[in-house]
């Protein structure tokens, strides 16, 4: 397993606010990496480095290197950002399907990237819905609005939507935080399944979730990466007292 992603001494500022402080970390291919930490610790900001979503927020300044397959994604031409985002999919905190049919939601990424071949799109939609373990539930109502699905189904649809353009990395920003335990369980199992094909980074508020799904865990606090190690190690014998305090709930 090589290093799929790597950050080298990354600093990020929102205006005067120093949101990420010299983060160096590597993420190996076909693994699940969980980022944990209290609210505002920088874990979501760190996640958004990898598809340059932070660019959308005005007054953001980034120092250091963010490497994807060895290439610094902050050195590429602005016109190649679309290309980057095709390669790095993202799933958001709340299920946010587009106001379109189930089919069109999954086909969206293909269409906006210039693919017009109908039979290819149809096949790809089915394939990714199957990957997201949603096909059996929706195959008879592909033309229905995505809003008719339950919250958990919507989130799996959003995962399918991200998978459809075949990225190699999937970023997940608290993908199950708005779901009930059953749906959460399904999403977690899905993440566990998907790591055979993708490199996954998942931000989570829920430490137990990090334990359940991830191979590696990074603990963020106040913009610093306190500890990064195998999840088993972090959860049974963390090296840093801050990590210990956080995962045992003796925080602050």
């Amino acid at each position: 397993m090589g290093n799929k992603l790597e950050t080298i001494d990354v600093n990020l500022y929102y205006g005067d606010f120093h949101a990420l402080k010299g983060i160096s970390m590597f993420i190996s291919e076909n693994s699940v990496t969980a980022l944990i930490g209290p609210s505002g610790c920088g874990k979501s900001t760190y996640l958004r480095l990898f598809n340059r979503m932070n660019d959308l927020i005005p007054n953001t300044r980034i120092e250091g290197q963010v490497l994807l397959d060895g290439e610094d994604i902050y050195q590429i031409k602005p016109s190649k950002i679309d290309h980057l985002r095709r390669n790095v999919g993202m799933v958001f905190q709340k299920p946010n399907p587009f106001p379109k049919s189930i089919f069109e939601n999954v086909a969206y990424g293909l269409r906006v990237n210039g693919i017009t071949d109908k039979s290819f799109i149809g096949a790809q939609v089915e394939k990714t819905l199957r990957q997201a373990v949603l096909w059996e539930e929706v195959k008879d109502k592909l033309k229905k609005s995505a809003f008719e699905l339950s919250g958990g189904q919507q989130q799996r649809l959003c995962i399918a939507r991200a998978l459809a353009i075949e990225p190699s990395v999937i970023l997940m920003d608290e993908p199950a935080s708005s779901l009930d335990p059953i749906s959460t369980g399904k999403i977690e199992d899905l993440i566990f399944e998907l790591k055979n094909l993708y490199t996954i980074i998942v931000v989570t508020h829920n430490m137990q979730q990090a334990g359940r799904v991830s191979d590696y865990t990074g603990f963020f606090y106040l913009g610093n990466l306190i500890e990064f190690d195998k999840t088993k190690k972090i959860f049974t014998n963390p090296s840093k007292p801050e990590t210990e305090n956080y995962i045992t709930g003796r925080f602050g």
């Binding site: 016109s79 679309d82 095709r86 990237n113 210039g114 693919i115 017009t116």
Partner: protein, 292 residues
């Protein structure tokens, strides 16, 4: 997966084109609107002087001033607000503080929306039927003010309701917890906090009322009346109606054109001042509330 490069190039080109278009249209619209203002200011500012503002119209309204129209508009605005403000604020209080969620509240809100959507000419018809004829006020300041008041009512109700809604519930609960009655709470706690926003609504309603023509056509407006009204049962002139008359149906349209520009200028200035005042008030108090 491979993505067709030519389509991707087209996608970038499309974006640049559409963004440019949207920007051009936006600036174009603002330019047109500013052009209207500029045109009226440019044509009207030369006409306006002290005499224009304080003299009676003369010579078939081709000369003299627009004093009675200004005074008439002031009377009408004052009269309509005398009706619309208390009723509107109380109705707003009812909707936000008293009415419980349910069909009654929905009905009241729906009716307020409906009233707000009724065209001004319908108010004119209604005012004529009810105030002028049925209640026998005749074409008078009273009838005109009430008609304009009806028109302003939904504006006052809506802004009051919004203002009250933005008052945090904790204020109410704190007052109740201290044993304040509902009315006492509304009067001493909620209303003072909401007052700046309610006043903003009042000012906006003033702006709207001072420019309305259709409702006063048959209820009060006098074509030419070179004296000031003596009582609420007199007719009077009004700025918007005066502008309409001298620009379309006067006997000497061409000769009265400068008067028309002057009148339009005065009307626009009044309306703009009122609106800017409302915006400033809202921004000022909006910031103050946020600071707390």
């Amino acid at each position: 997966m491979t993505f067709p490069e030519s389509n991707l190039r087209r996608k970038k080109l499309g974006q640049a084109l559409m963004f440019g278009l949207a920007r051009a249209i936006s600036y174009g619209i603002v330019a047109i609107l500013l052009l209207i203002l500029f045109f009226i200011v440019k044509q009207g500012i030369g006409v306006v002087n002290w005499r224009f503002l304080t003299a009676m119209p003369e010579n078939g309204m081709t000369q003299g001033g627009i004093f009675p129209a200004i005074v008439g508009t002031l009377y009408l605005v004052a009269g309509s607000m005398l009706f619309a403000f208390p009723v509107g604020v109380m109705a707003g209080i009812y909707v936000n503080e008293y009415a419980k969620e349910g069909p009654v509240k929905r009905f009241v809100k729906m009716m307020t929306n409906n009233l707000a959507g009724v065209p001004s000419i319908i108010f004119g018809l209604f005012g004529m039927a009810l105030f002028v004829n049925e209640l026998n006020f005749g074409a008078s300041i009273l009838a005109g003010s009430l008609t304009l008041g009806l028109l302003a009512l939904p504006i006052v109700i809506r802004t009051t309701e919004e203002a009250l809604k933005s008052v945090d519930d904790t204020f109410r609960q704190a007052s109740y917890a201290l044993g304040g009655s509902k009315l006492y709470t509304v009067r001493k706690v909620v209303l003072p906090i909401a007052l700046p926003n309610i006043l903003t609504g009042l000012i906006l309603a003033v702006g709207r009322v001072s420019g309305e023509t259709a409702p006063i056509l048959f209820t009060v407006a006098a074509y030419f009346l070179p004296k000031l009204p003596g009582s609420v049962f007199d007719q009077c002139m009004a700025l918007p109606y005066h502008l309409y008359v001298i620009s379309t149906s006067g006997t000497q349209i061409e000769a009265s054109r400068p008067m028309a520009y002057g009148t339009a200028f005065v009307l626009v200035v009044i309306v703009l001042i009122v609106n800017i005042l409302a915006t400033l008030l809202r921004n000022y108090f909006g910031k103050k509330v946020k600071m707390n």
